[in-house]
Symmetry: D2
Subunit: 379 residues, 4 copies
Amino acid sequence: MEAKKPLRIGMIGYGFMGRTHSNAYSQVNHFFDLEYKPVLKAVCARNAEKVQAFADQWGYESIETDWRKVIARDDIDAIDICTPNNLHKEIAIAAAQAGKMILCEKPLAMNTAEGEEMCEAVEKAGVANTVWYNYRRVPAVTMAKQLIERGLLGKIFHYRAQFLQDWTINADVPQGGAATWRLDAEAAGSGVTGDLLAHCIDTAIWLNGKLDSVSAMTETFVKERTHALTGLKQAVSIDDAATVMGRFSNGSLALFESTRYARGHKALYTFEINGENASIAWDLHDLHRLKFYDYRDEGPLRGWKSIHVSDGDHPYMKSWWVPGLQIGYEHTFIHQVADFLKDLETGTPTGPTFRDSLETQKVCDAILASAKDGTWKHI
Amino acid sequence: MEAKKPLRIGMIGYGFMGRTHSNAYSQVNHFFDLEYKPVLKAVCARNAEKVQAFADQWGYESIETDWRKVIARDDIDAIDICTPNNLHKEIAIAAAQAGKMILCEKPLAMNTAEGEEMCEAVEKAGVANTVWYNYRRVPAVTMAKQLIERGLLGKIFHYRAQFLQDWTINADVPQGGAATWRLDAEAAGSGVTGDLLAHCIDTAIWLNGKLDSVSAMTETFVKERTHALTGLKQAVSIDDAATVMGRFSNGSLALFESTRYARGHKALYTFEINGENASIAWDLHDLHRLKFYDYRDEGPLRGWKSIHVSDGDHPYMKSWWVPGLQIGYEHTFIHQVADFLKDLETGTPTGPTFRDSLETQKVCDAILASAKDGTWKHI
Amino acid sequence: MEAKKPLRIGMIGYGFMGRTHSNAYSQVNHFFDLEYKPVLKAVCARNAEKVQAFADQWGYESIETDWRKVIARDDIDAIDICTPNNLHKEIAIAAAQAGKMILCEKPLAMNTAEGEEMCEAVEKAGVANTVWYNYRRVPAVTMAKQLIERGLLGKIFHYRAQFLQDWTINADVPQGGAATWRLDAEAAGSGVTGDLLAHCIDTAIWLNGKLDSVSAMTETFVKERTHALTGLKQAVSIDDAATVMGRFSNGSLALFESTRYARGHKALYTFEINGENASIAWDLHDLHRLKFYDYRDEGPLRGWKSIHVSDGDHPYMKSWWVPGLQIGYEHTFIHQVADFLKDLETGTPTGPTFRDSLETQKVCDAILASAKDGTWKHI
Amino acid sequence: MEAKKPLRIGMIGYGFMGRTHSNAYSQVNHFFDLEYKPVLKAVCARNAEKVQAFADQWGYESIETDWRKVIARDDIDAIDICTPNNLHKEIAIAAAQAGKMILCEKPLAMNTAEGEEMCEAVEKAGVANTVWYNYRRVPAVTMAKQLIERGLLGKIFHYRAQFLQDWTINADVPQGGAATWRLDAEAAGSGVTGDLLAHCIDTAIWLNGKLDSVSAMTETFVKERTHALTGLKQAVSIDDAATVMGRFSNGSLALFESTRYARGHKALYTFEINGENASIAWDLHDLHRLKFYDYRDEGPLRGWKSIHVSDGDHPYMKSWWVPGLQIGYEHTFIHQVADFLKDLETGTPTGPTFRDSLETQKVCDAILASAKDGTWKHI
């Protein structure tokens, strides 16, 4: 067997997303036939002991405690950014300048201005870049994209999506720190808008094209929380919930909602698209099922079909098991790495690129601005 | 407007089924365009006071306390039998001999021998006759029949059905008497076999043809119950649960189950039919939904469709509301009366006739016999 | 048996809603034990032949072709208004002035100003009045009300509802005339806002209290339609779709959507309420099922429960059949009549009264105004 | 970090199950904290080129083409048997005699007699042994076990399970050879009984205890198929479908069905257990969802709960992601390896052992025997 070409990874940050990415690098060649093979060169974080334990568990060859050193290393081809959002820009720009490829966690940046700088940096450097909006690569979601591209839906009237959680209802959940930085606007940039809604927006733009305008409402239900590190009560700086109306360039209406106060929903990311000829619906809690309604079916036989997207002729599924047997959340990251490696063979950009994700950033910024002053915002 | 032709009804018995039938007679002309119109002439039961209250509530013109008098009346065209099963034969034969049409509650009789006598009586008398196996006329069930008749399923491999309840788990539920005669084999003939399984068998034969052979297992979980009238503890004489394997004449396999010990199920009558080209499934708890899987759909788009059978081009639904708006249990009886009246216009038998229902009786008898000795029975 | 007290009905209009109301009057005493009994005195419409056919089918004693005559009749106690919306005000005020009780189809009026006049008229006259927002009386919806009143949900964070249909996607559907007056703003006042969203708003206010402010977006997808009577192409005057964000007085966020362009949905009225301790969801296509999530369940056993609201201890269900057996759309009207008659016994108002429904009207007006200028509206 | 203790694996066979097992060994230490770590020492198959490619893909250190050599190697601790069923016995006995631990694919053997020999061999050798009945370790299935052990269901009345597929409906599917040996009784021992029903039986015995007696029916719908290697038409020797009634020692009734002719079902393994106080249901197509009905809930609030078994307090899930995020089919094998390694630390047997699986084998044999002569069989 011919040896694989190595893609030497340096990962910065090692939290929840560090695990999903490391798993993706470990697994991709077991299931996909590719020229390239990721090599786990280094993982970096400030706490040497903890990052060493992580490196041992996942098989990283070395650790670093200063991210600049990772970027400076000659034996690394690609930088994987899994830090809190407020570090994305600085790391990404430095990595680009060092000529490294970049795989950056979402959202791209703290805001559009930062994102624009990052885009310019990677484009100037000409380095491969992608943002981990992983849900595009749930097989059923990718299949939705294919059905839309085949024109099966016809003119689109409605696109609605929601991302509902309930884990912050308890007012005793702290904010800030390593585990709950997503509740701290200084680290995260925003609350549910950047964390959850950004996924909805990324998928929406991918599936349904540009969003032209939005009007939004946000709310912070719990006004004060204890900071995880200082133990002090502080005003909560993030949006707990966000509701958005909007209009797409193709004339369809948008409706988005995200919240961490929807009792009973753990990570319920759903979308539904209503077209002239057909409709599609999906939800993350039953991720293998694509709901499909086709008006071209014979009248009395029309109905919503629940397609169990697990066959060899469904996206990505030929690489896994046999029809009916499921894959899970982590596989979306494996798919993104598989696509990234495949695209390296041909020099193709792997969506969403930084530039693609900047569009999502713009929508998120418009949402937050609209929620502040109650007016519609053009994007 | 031309006057309707009257169909003068004499109903014997007035319990739960008396209500469903009386409602059907009251409602049918509000929703169906028919030459005939039922007229509620008389209702009969032993307790004059109670039957008078019933007559008042439903608008019966008169009451009787002796069923033979109802049959003897000249102003009555059709006898509706809603008594416990052990009276079906005697009443039906007398009614037939008096030249009355008969609408008889299911099951037809206590056993095949009784049923055979009843068939002979109505056939000799040449009177219209039908048995209230009402579930045939759930719109989704009727639609299943249509899809099968169109040949959409192809060769059938499997037919499975179940009727699950849980109301007798409590050992304090009494047996016998007016409310619980269904737990007394002397009044009911059998337990779940005649009460619940009979529905499954009737539908199965209608949809999938003759059953050739069965092997069955029954169980009585609660061995003793207090009699509702005497207050005495007595051995339970009925089957609490019945499981049946079988073979249809068309080569498909049968699987039936009914029980009153399936905690969590109120009246869950379900069936599923697997054919070479398509499959169908239905359940009574969501009676408007027909599940349909069509192998001829394009490969990646195959899936189980949930058809909300509530459109104008679905069976019976044009007579009701608009798409998406539901009807319920009682409407199956209205549909049977509508069909019976329509068939009177043309002299067509209304299925299931006594003769059709005798076939179900034979299967039920074979089930009980097989459960006794553990061997297969030919039918 | 004691004779029932008659409630003599004069119905004005006889279309789709005329059937649902007439059925309710016919059926209510078959299933509910009440002092009063509706008597179908007169039905009124301009076309004598058609209204006579309707009267024959439903058993009305007489017809009228001028609604003022119905109101003038001494032998009529209550006026039922089923006309297009643009006639509600005039008829209601005249009826109130004549001292008649009024049962008025929804929405109450063409706009808030009209509705205010109507409220004043009935309150001045002191006549019983109610508006047919029938969905309150789906047993599962009434049960939701009970659970909220028991405090099971705790503080409410989110209320979202949608009413989705797809029957006007075809640009060949005409507007105006008897069958499609709902597409004509002159007859209907608005499009989906008054027709569909009004149901969502009525239920929302009933379940979750006052709405303080809204921001809305509407769209007319098909810009021109042929008029059903004139055959002329005309600009479409109604809203085809409406999306609404809002805030309730109790601090919860509102999200409403209605459209007739959601391919695959016939009459999908859904709502979901997320509280601190529990959440509730319901949809009209499976109207017997109430989804309930209770955070107080033991941790690993938490989940969304699908309650089949068909037991004797569920609202209204004791009057119908046995557990597991369904009722349908028309029964909501029967329940409203049953409540109206019961309330007559005690002189209690039957919600929603005109005054209750005026609040819904105000919200609808605010929605339409917000959609016009893109700003938030206080109610 | 302390070094892990190696468990050196020699795998015999490398087909579909070779992938699931290899993946389990690769992944287990990424997610579970264990003293032991599998080392992929050798993989063995007759075709050197193909097995080398497999070894390269999964990182096996060496290959063998004679399974006796794998067993003879000193550097191997455990033998993993993934061959067709007709080789299980010989390999397992040799491995036991060589003092190797054994992880054997299911079903244990071709029949009870073989299985008995295998049990005696491993018990005599005192080697750790387990059979890959992987579905026990779907988190929702393991949770079902916990709920039953806590006594939440009370007395059990019914246990029913089915395993439905549709991939052999096409008569052009060949039999025999590497890909379709499961259709050849010489390699597989039986058809759906050993392949699919065996899973149902294993889970049933685990959850509900011993099966005392069965009565079964089998069918071979397609009578002749082309052999994959010889190209010759031959009589089909396996059972295409099997239906089973039975009785458990605890007094509950059993109902099992498996088929490869249920159009529309890919790998629909379902079970439902009805107890006095609660019921449980599960299906493999939505493997994260455990349906649970608890009669002790307040009356009007009773219903089937859909528990999304994906929280940290659900079995195995703490090792994976966060609530709401799914895992898939392959994880059941990872869990079995995790348990096997954990049990090595304490010397505990890992169920199902060979002895446990022999019980399943006995039931399968009884099923096939009953299907032949149509009589009940005691087990």
